[in-house]
């Protein structure tokens, strides 16, 4: 029943993608990294919605937009618990939990100013590692520095 209430809080879309189960505090970050402010189609954004799983969650619905794997990786970094739902003609055609990939290529900037990727024409590459607190971190393939998810800057 809760699900239904959530749906009513944000309008349905005919065709496009719903990003559900975003931790509330990251909703605007997801909006930002996907450059949704430049999109011409309708975009609905809801935050602080009730969620059994997360307590409070965010949801973004984008009309006429389907994400490529690179964009999905970006979402995974900011909202690792998100669900991606593709809608065609008001029907759910695909629903999947986002998975963090093993490596993140070309989309994140290394925070080390002395890293070769910030000084030469070298595409960035990171391995995802889990620290001893169970937090996901990015380890630069080149300079070997690690950075926390909250320090991520997208290229």
């Amino acid at each position: 029943m809760n699900n239904k209430r959530t749906e009513l809080q944000v309008s349905a879309i005919k065709n496009g993608t719903v990003i559900d189960h975003i931790a509330s505090e990251n909703t605007f970050r997801v909006f930002q990294i996907l450059n949704l402010e430049h999109i011409k189609e309708q975009v609905y954004l809801g935050t602080n919605l009730e969620s059994k799983k997360l307590g409070k969650k965010g949801i973004i619905k984008i009309s006429g937009k389907f994400f490529d794997p690179e964009e999905i990786n970006k979402i995974a970094l900011v909202a690792p618990h998100a669900t991606l739902i593709e809608i065609k003609d008001y029907e759910v055609t695909k629903k999947e939990k986002i998975n963090l990939p093993e490596s993140i290529d070309k989309i994140v900037k290394c925070m080390n100013p002395k890293c070769v990727t910030n000084n030469q024409d070298v595409p960035t590459k990171f391995k995802l590692i889990t620290d001893h607190h169970g937090k996901t971190k990015l380890s630069c393939h080149y300079c070997e520095k690690t950075m926390a998810q909250e320090d991520i800057w997208f290229l």
Binding site: K114, C115, V116, N119, D121, H132, C140, Y142
Partner: protein, 306 residues
């Protein structure tokens, strides 16, 4: 059969325990006879994009004792880098003229990148604050030679454990050999937690101290480091800690017989000169071992010595 032919060395973790021991075994042979002309008709490029005395001369000496020729530069100002050439272009060009490239570059990760674009193997002679794996190999060689084995060593690491890249590599490498780590540093220069994690993940122990005298009685190796002013973002912080640990000869009276003092050099004042004549001082011999280890590595990577 351990095969290092064409295997670049960028980070000490690129080599397995067996591969590390293999290089040390070959180095032992070079220590017995370092004039072995295995590199006749070979050209080795030595590209030092930032100045280095010890490492560059040690590599060049290794190549010359092996009978090889060296091309390259000792300073980026005398290379086409000054004209704005990219690292990729420099590497691709120089790889046309040489069998192997030895490179030092101030950018972190530059050596890994070079190894990905180069058709010839790369030996990392230091990439910024990141890795310096041949220093690590010569440290391991020196420990094995003075202690008889690399296994079960009690090593005290002293000084700048935060920024000192040689310390980080040595911790990673000795974690393969069941070492116990005694970490002596000021509060602001403690070993980073990611490096401590290596120790824990290997199921090994570390202990932290602020006084150098605490570790002298039980250490097999004391590895002194220079507190490097250039790595400090804040000069005031550097002034506070620069003279934290100075090892003097009189402090060694209560030490173990097998203790040896190592230092990657150059030293400033952290080992008093009165230690130099103590038989436990090993840092100059350690630098000499660098030549044998580099000879071994070059010969192994070029497939000239098994």
């Amino acid at each position: 059969m351990i095969e290092l032919k064409n295997k670049s060395l960028i980070s000490i973790t690129d080599y397995s325990k067996e591969e590390i021991l293999h290089v040390l075994d070959i180095a032992e042979d070079f220590e017995k006879n370092h004039r072995q002309r295995l590199l006749d008709n070979h050209v080795i490029a030595s590209l030092f994009f930032e100045p280095s005395t010890r490492t560059r001369l040690s590599f060049e000496s290794a190549v010359q004792y092996l009978g090889g020729s060296i091309i390259g530069f000792a300073n980026a100002d005398t290379s086409s880098v000054r004209k704005g050439e990219s690292l990729k272009d420099t590497i691709l060009t120089v790889s046309n003229y040489s069998d192997l490239i030895i490179m030092r570059n101030p950018l972190d990760g530059s050596a890994r990148f070079a190894s990905e674009v180069s058709p010839v193997p790369i030996i990392n002679a230091g990439d910024g604050a990141n890795q310096h794996p041949t220093q690590c190999l010569l440290d391991l060689y020196s420990i094995r030679k003075t202690q008889g084995s690399l296994e079960n060593i009690h090593i005290a690491l002293v000084g700048d454990l935060k920024y000192g890249r040689t310390v980080h590599s040595l911790v990673q490498a000795l974690s393969l050999f069941n070492a116990t780590f005694h970490l002596v540093s000021p509060e602001s220069l403690k070993l980073p937690s990611a490096v401590k994690r290596w120790i824990k993940d290997a199921g090994l122990e570390y202990h932290q101290y602020t006084e150098l005298t605490d570790v002298i009685p039980f250490s097999d190796i004391i590895y002194m480091t220079r507190i490097q002013g250039e790595r400090f973002p804040d000069p005031v912080e550097y002034e506070k800690v620069k003279n934290s640990y100075i090892l003097e000869n009189k402090m060694l009276s209560a030490s173990k017989e097998n203790l040896r003092i190592l230092h990657p050099l150059p030293r400033v004042n952290e080992i008093s000169e009165d230690v130099d004549n103590n038989p436990k001082a090993y840092y100059f011999q350690q630098a000499k071992n660098g030549v044998y280890v580099r000879q071994a590595l070059i010969a192994a990577i070029l497939g000239l010595k098994d």
